[in-house]
């Protein structure tokens, strides 16, 4: 089957899955458009993440296991941009926090300068150590005072610096466009973190990048969980403004009610579907723009160079290409896409809950999407995003169905049967592992292979 038939066919099959989910409750399908659109929205976000990972892996062969961290940074950006500033928090210690952070950064820069410009020897080491100790204690002294001040501001409700929303505490929801502004900011934050990791770990063995990214992801999530002054940590920030209308407003508007009646729909259902559809439209626009950009770059001289580097680093280097530099560039780009997707996801959720960031869900699942869809092929990665996210949600009903089938011979209420039925939820990880291994072994180029 030629690729030009295969690609649309695959997408049609996945579309069919979503249509079945919306229209029929046969077998494992829910038969609700609300459920179908909810999966679709997250699938669109996952597709953006998969595009980012594909950029790194498919174009350049870089193994990034820190997707979760970049996604979480995107979520953080949404809070930092779209929430209103907490009244009094800045004067209570916000500036001290910033001063402390600047001081900390200055200490590191000073140490790098000392390392580069002083003569080697014990004297340099001692001076660097002294700088580190002095800088650290000064940093903690200023920073801790600021943190204590900010976190004391109405801790039950805020206790954090808040964001940049011009609406203020009472009217910030009217400025929903701020969340859209947060998306590129999320990309930028992720790009910054990627630069730090890339600078240290690129150019070494390929496994080292994997381990370094695994580490940075854990640390980013740990920071977001523990630094309450930034985004309230595990106390979560809820009620983020939305770029789309609220259901209650729709239900109140006479115009909308009339339209829903004309379609013969329940007004509540119609409003939830309308909101989800608006998100889908927003996300689809972003995804299409990104796919077009990615395709253009892939077929540009730059894309050819990237693939040449991936296929034979030594030869590319001999042709005068700066391999480490290119790798750093594409690593940053791919991570920025993950950050963008993270901001989109937090916008969709309407809240930032750092406790829910799990590496298996946000890093390794995205990898399964890319490998299954077809690494090196943008459309493949997007398809993988849709298909695997659908399966990830649906494996639970499928697992339950399979377990009921397996245990149908056992007596009701037997311990083994209860245990097996209760454990059906854990089928998710297991089945994703099996899918990954099967694709890797028997069809390593994925569903839509690279041309």
């Amino acid at each position: 089957m030629s690729q030009s038939i295969r690609t649309p066919l695959m997408f049609a099959l996945v579309a069919l899955l979503f249509i079945l989910q919306g229209s029929t409750d046969w077998w494992i399908f829910a038969g609700s458009w609300n459920a179908s659109l909810a999966i679709l929205n997250m699938a669109l976000v996952s597709a953006v993440m998969a595009l980012g990972v594909n950029l790194q892996w498919g174009y350049a062969g870089l193994f990034n296991v820190g997707v979760m961290g970049f996604v979480a940074l995107g979520g953080l950006a949404t809070v930092l941009v779209s929430m209103p500033p907490t009244p009094g928090a800045w004067s209570a210690g916000g500036f001290k926090i910033i001063a402390g952070l600047v001081l900390g950064a200055a200490t590191i820069v000073l140490m790098i300068w000392q390392f580069k410009h002083m003569t080697k020897g014990r004297r340099r080491n001692l001076i660097m150590l002294a700088t580190l100790i002095a800088g650290f204690f000064l940093f903690r002294w200023i920073f801790d005072a600021g943190v204590a001040g900010v976190e004391a501001v109405n801790p039950a409700q805020t206790g954090y610096l808040g964001g940049l929303n011009p609406g203020g505490q009472d009217n910030y929801r009217a400025h929903g466009y701020m969340t859209l502004l947060a998306w590129p900011v999320g990309g930028l934050l992720a790009a910054g973190a990627a630069w730090i990791v890339g600078k240290t770990a690129l150019g070494l063995r390929s496994d080292y990048l994997a381990i370094a990214t695994l580490g940075i992801a854990e640390i980013i999530v740990a920071i977001i969980k523990n630094e309450d002054w930034m985004a309230r940590g595990v106390k979560n920030v809820i009620g983020l403004p939305r770029p789309v209308p609220y259901e209650v407003d729709l239900q109140r508007s006479a115009d909308f009610v009339a339209k829903a009646d004309a379609l013969g729909m329940n007004v509540t259902t119609a409003s939830t579907i309308a909101v989800k559809l608006s998100y889908s439209v927003l996300f689809t626009v972003v995804l299409i723009v990104l796919i077009v950009l990615a395709q253009l770059s892939l077929h540009s001289p730059w894309g050819r160079m990237m693939r040449a580097i991936r296929d034979n680093e030594v030869a590319a280097q001999a042709m005068g290409k700066n391999v480490t530099g290119r790798h750093l560039q594409i690593f940053i780009l791919g991570s920025a896409l993950c950050g963008l997707a993270g901001a989109m996801m937090t916008t969709l959720d309407g809240q930032l809950t750092p406790g829910t960031y799990q590496p298996l869900r946000y890093t390794f699942l995205i990898w399964v999407m890319v490998i299954v869809g077809g690494s090196g092929n943008n459309l493949g990665a997007v398809l993988g995003g849709f298909l695997i996210w659908f399966l990830w949600i649906q494996v639970e009903p499928i697992g339950y169905w399979a377990m009921t089938l397996v245990t149908s011979g056992l007596a009701d209420g037997s311990a083994l049967k209860t245990h097996l039925l209760d454990s059906a939820a854990h089928m998710r990880l297991f089945s994703m592992g099996v899918i990954l291994l099967l694709v890797l072994r028997f069809s390593p180029r994925g569903l839509i292979p690279e041309k």
């Binding site: 240290t200 070494l204 496994d207 580490g215 297991f430 592992g433």
Partner: protein, 336 residues
């Protein structure tokens, strides 16, 4: 007197926990390093295989406990350990047979192995959660302390207590025995020598008639032993929770790289470097400092360099520093 109190507090809260944790990390890192040396890839399924080994041991322990078998004051888990090792060994050999052997045959790039190990990680993780659930499990029994804090206070007359848990003592003793046995095996036996030869220079080893499949099989068996022991000891010392084992991956990798990937001696040193820095940086030094300094200088804060939630950051920072300045690790590991 105050000085003695400070020493006791230091031993109680820093030295003993760090040595026990370091031994656990060292055992885990030895497994990573062996796989890296012989099979030449970083095994991402390591943490979850560790959880699998601990799980098998726990199940057998529960079975023994239900039958009333016990070796008190030692924990029953020790008796169940051989069963756990055999179970894990079979599991690892099966994964090698089904997953990795194919990639060895086609001489796939190391990164493909890493990816396959990611799939194995998912499966192991799912399997463990499926059988034993995602929650904390208790399986420790027998005497809790070798020296309890109160006994020590009565005996010494000091204000500070010194508690030495059975699990900690057991960890240290077991780690010493296991490491000694492993080094004897690698250095003195024919099979061990063939493994080292294979790790140093694969082509030369093949030319001199070493059977690679046999070397790989023995490696997996040894790794099964190491990770099951490490997993069970960690579970006895702290708690068994599948997700914690996944998170151990980072400090274990850091230990192996800091020591020099592929170098067993380095893995042990790396384990202790990571453990001591983690405990040292996240410990609140207030107590020790208060004993040492005159009263007027006593600190009011906790004197904690970083909150315990950032312990992963410690292993990460050490890892980054080593990668930047000495990418082959402290004890010259394999190529960068």
């Amino acid at each position: 007197m105050d000085f003695l109190n400070a020493v006791v507090a230091l031993t109680n809260f820093v030295l003993i926990p760090a040595i026990a944790y370091g031994s656990q990390l060292a055992l885990g890192a030895l497994g990573v390093t062996l796989i890296y040396g012989i099979l030449r890839f970083s095994n991402f399924a390591h943490g979850d295989s560790m959880a699998f080994g601990a799980m098998v041991t726990i199940l057998v322990t529960w079975w023994f406990q239900s039958m009333g078998v016990s070796i008190a004051p030692l924990p029953t888990a020790l008796l169940a350990l051989p069963f756990g090792i055999v179970g894990t060994g079979l599991m690892l050999l099966a994964t090698d047979r089904v997953v990795y052997r194919f990639y060895r045959r086609v001489k796939a790039k190391p990164i493909v192995f890493v990816m396959a190990s990611m799939g194995v990680m998912f499966i192991m993780n799912g399997l463990v959660r499926f059988v034993i659930g995602p929650d904390d499990q208790r399986f420790a029994d027998g005497a809790r302390f070798i020296i309890s804090a109160r006994d020590f206070k009565e005996w010494s007359g000091l204000r500070e207590g010194l508690a030495f848990k059975t699990s900690q003592g057991l960890t240290i003793v077991t780690a010493v025995i296991v490491v000694a046995a492993l080094f004897w095996f690698l250095n003195k036996t024919r099979t061990g020598k063939s493994m080292r030869a294979f790790s140093d220079n694969e082509d030369l080893a093949l030319l001199s008639g070493i059977n690679p499949e046999r070397v790989v099989m023995i490696t997996w068996m040894i790794v099964a032993g190491l990770i099951t022991i490490a997993g069970v000891l960690y579970g006895l010392d702290k708690t068994f929770k599948p997700f914690t084992y996944f998170q151990l991956l980072l400090p274990i990798f850091a230990s192996a790289i800091v020591g020099g990937l592929g170098n067993p001696l380095g893995a042990i040193a790396g384990g202790f470097v990571i453990a001591f820095s983690e405990v040292g940086v996240t410990y609140a030094w207030k107590k020790v400092v208060t004993y040492l300094l005159p009263e007027s200088l006593a600190p009011s804060s906790l004197v904690q360099l970083m909150s315990t939630d950032y312990k992963f950051a410690v292993s990460f920072v050490i890892l980054i520093i080593v990668l930047l300045f000495k990418p082959t690790g402290l004890f010259r590991g394999q190529s960068v």
